[in-house]
């Protein structure tokens, strides 16, 4: 049943995907009208699916790739709505919808029900670790996308081309900046605590060997870039191009850390 709800959510996210693609070519008013209710309903069904997974005990270790993807997609959508209601802009949807759609497609593949947690891993700490990291990832993704929007909007303003198409509906430069910055500030503690939780679990169980894992190293690298981003912002007010490069770097590290080893840490796999 949770898979069914997930697929309902997926088809509703499809509307969002369509909206994202079409809005790059000027947009369709009909799609704009139905987009929000559709993805909103999708997010609700997605929530139902996640809760059911939890009740069925299938989510004990969300580090199983598929559950993790589902959770990440859901968090992205939740972030989208927070930003939408706070700043009255649906622009992030252009990136969020395709991303959420893709993650949900992966999560709703039939094999996701087959993966069952091995007894050694079912641990509260792991759930906390993964949950915190995923919130951090979502925030980082938003911050990264906001910095891209910032660059585009800045370029538009400098090129003195402000009318027409998708770009004319972008929020103000200062608003984009604020979204990016707030997401950064919001996500950083989650990322930090998530990494600490992970370290505690791994240290307790596997000793210092876990530092061999590229996933861990990439995560730490990402965390460092994250901190540099925040520091330059606080001390020198870095934004725009320089901040976007850093954010892109941190995001690339995050994606790599996510994809390396397909969900399992090497130190768990190794006996």
């Amino acid at each position: 049943m949770p898979l069914f709800w997930l697929r309902v959510a997926l088809s509703l996210y499809g509307v969002g995907l369509l909206y994202a693609v079409v809005s790059l070519w000027g947009g369709r008013p009909v799609l704009t009208r139905i987009m929000l209710p559709a993805v909103g309903l999708g997010t609700v069904f997605h929530f139902v699916a996640i809760v059911e997974y939890g009740v069925l005990g299938l989510v004990v270790a969300p580090s199983f790739l598929h559950q993790g993807e589902s959770l990440l997609a859901f968090l992205l959508m939740a972030f989208f709505f927070v930003v939408y209601f706070r700043y009255k802009t649906a622009s992030p949807g252009v990136a969020v919808f395709p991303m959420a759609f893709l993650l949900t497609v992966l999560a709703s593949a039939p094999s996701s029900l087959l993966t069952s947690p091995s007894p050694g891993v079912s641990n509260r700490w792991i759930i906390i670790h993964v949950g915190l990291i995923l919130v951090g990832y979502s925030a980082l993704f938003f911050s990264f996308f906001a910095s891209i929007l910032y660059l585009l909007q800045e370029r538009n303003l400098k090129a003195k081309a402000t009318s027409g198409g998708f770009w004319s509906r972008l929020p103000a430069l200062a608003t984009i900046d604020e979204i990016g910055y707030k997401c950064l500030v919001f996500g950083f503690p989650f990322m930090t605590l998530g990494l600490i939780a992970g370290s505690i679990v791994a240290e307790a169980r596997f000793g210092s060997r876990y530092f061999d894992d590229p996933k861990i190293l990439l995560s730490i690298l990402m965390w460092v870039v994250y901190m540099v981003l925040l520091y330059t912002r606080w001390s020198a007010g870095w934004r725009g191009r320089r901040a976007a490069y850093l954010a892109a770097f941190a995001f690339a590290a995050a994606v790599l850390a996510w994809s390396v080893n397909t969900g399992w840490h090497r130190f768990i796999a190794a006996p």
Partner: protein
């Protein structure tokens, strides 16, 4: 129903002519009363703005508005002749729709005209000069104007320098509250832009001028602080928006100034609006991250781009208006056949009653059943005979020969000599 419109606007007549026809608000009721007293005029209203003076009437047989105009205003008919336009029927409907939708305005899409039309309508309605056909027409015109505004982007972009400056500032800073504006130099356009920025809620204004007295005057007039000109560069970092309009021959702000300003502002963006000619801000400075420099040509280009955008939207709006004119004409036509159908039915019913009375006299006493049978029979015949003419009348309203069909039916049944009793 006959709609008729006569008038002058900014395209047809120069201001010397328009000002002689303009009617001040106090005299509007008098003008409307004179208009509806014209022979043939059933309803009338007058629209008088700085860009147009128009008389709109509805009548049954048409009236001589061209004669009324010079007479009422005491203007030589010959001077008016070449400036006045006149529309009838469908063309008048179209014109009213276009005016209300701001398609006939000097700045296409400007929002004031709809309010002006509504006011003119309210005044005429208050005097009882607008009651039936014009009422229907104007209500429709307001609906069309609303449709144009919601379905096209005709009024959404700025087309004046001052409003473009505000629009750009909002694109950069979002809300302008708590933002600081620095007005360097003086000038009409700069003042206009400052006023606009103030109307959009900027928090603080600084003034600087080579002649410090002028800066003091301005700061008093607008409510702000005057800064001596020699402190301009030391204080500029306090401003988010710098509006420059001085007579200086060279650049007052160069790239190195920009770098220093950004460092002091911790890279918080700045917007320079340079409306001086020759320019006062080096365009090189605009290459810095977070520095936005627009000169007068850039502003004008944005305004022109927006104007072009509006023109495109106006073409879509014209399509909507055309569609609505079509719809309205159909509605008016179908309203026009209603009296004919009524009198046709009435005519036949009178004949039937007369024949019934005659036959009763001939037959002598008949039973109630027989009476009912005859009643049903005659009614059936009349209804069947009338069925085709009535459906033809109803369905013909959308055809080009509607008026002919209408007239033929009236003549065949000899309806022109009688009026229906409602």
């Amino acid at each position: 129903m006959n709609f008729q419109l006569i008038g002058v606007n900014h395209n047809s007549a120069p201001v010397e002519v328009r000002e002689r026809l303009a009617i001040p608000e106090a005299r509007l009721p008098d003008a409307i009363r004179s208009l509806v007293q014209q022979p043939g005029v059933d309803e009338g209203m007058v629209l008088s703005t700085c860009n147009r003076v128009e008389l709109l009437t509805s009548s049954n047989q048409g009236s001589d508005l061209r004669g009324f105009l010079p007479l009422y205003f005491g203007v030589n008919p010959d001077t008016l002749k070449s400036h006045v336009y006149e529309f009838k029927e469908r063309d008048a409907v179209r014109h009213v729709f276009r005016v209300a939708s701001s398609l006939d305005s000097m700045v296409v899409g400007e929002p004031q005209i709809l309010g002006q039309v509504k006011e003119a309508y309210a005044i005429a309605r208050g005097l009882g000069a607008v009651h039936s056909a014009l009422d229907v027409l104007l209500s429709r015109a307001f609906a069309v104007a609303k449709r144009v505004r919601t379905e096209t982007a005709i009024g959404s972009s700025s087309v004046s320098i001052a409003s473009v400056a505000v629009q750009l500032a909002q694109k950069i800073f979002g809300s302008l509250t708590n933002k600081t504006v620095y007005m360097v130099g003086a000038g009409k356009m700069a003042e206009l832009a400052t006023r606009r920025l103030m109307a959009n809620g900027v928090g603080k204004i600084l003034f600087s001028n080579r002649t410090h007295e002028r800066a003091l005057q301005l700061s008093e007039a607008f409510g702000g602080h005057a800064v001596p000109f020699e402190h301009l560069h030391d204080t500029a970092d306090h401003a988010d928006i710098v509006l420059i309009s001085t007579g200086a021959a060279g650049f007052l702000f160069r790239r190195e100034h920009g770098e220093r300003l950004l460092a002091r502002r911790r890279n918080s963006p700045m917007f320079f609006i340079d409306i001086s000619v020759p320019r006062n801000v080096d365009p090189e400075m605009g290459r810095l991250d977070g520095m936005f420099v627009y000169d007068i040509d850039d502003l004008q280009a944005v305004a022109a781009g927006n104007t072009a955008e509006r023109q495109k939207e106006a073409a879509r709006a014209e399509e909507i208006v055309e569609l609505e004119v079509e719809r309205f004409a159909l509605r008016i036509q179908s309203l026009a056949v209603v009296p004919t159908i009524l009198s046709l039915q009435e005519q036949c019913e009178t004949i039937r009653q007369a024949e019934m009375d005659r036959i009763r006299g001939k037959l002598g006493p008949i039973s109630a059943d027989q009476e009912a049978a005859i009643e049903a029979l005659t009614r059936g015949i009349v209804n069947k005979l009338l069925h085709t003419p009535i459906t033809t009348l109803k369905s013909s309203t959308s055809e080009p020969e509607a008026a002919t069909i209408h007239e033929i039916i009236r003549r065949i049944f000899n309806l022109n000599s009688r009026k229906p009793n409602k």
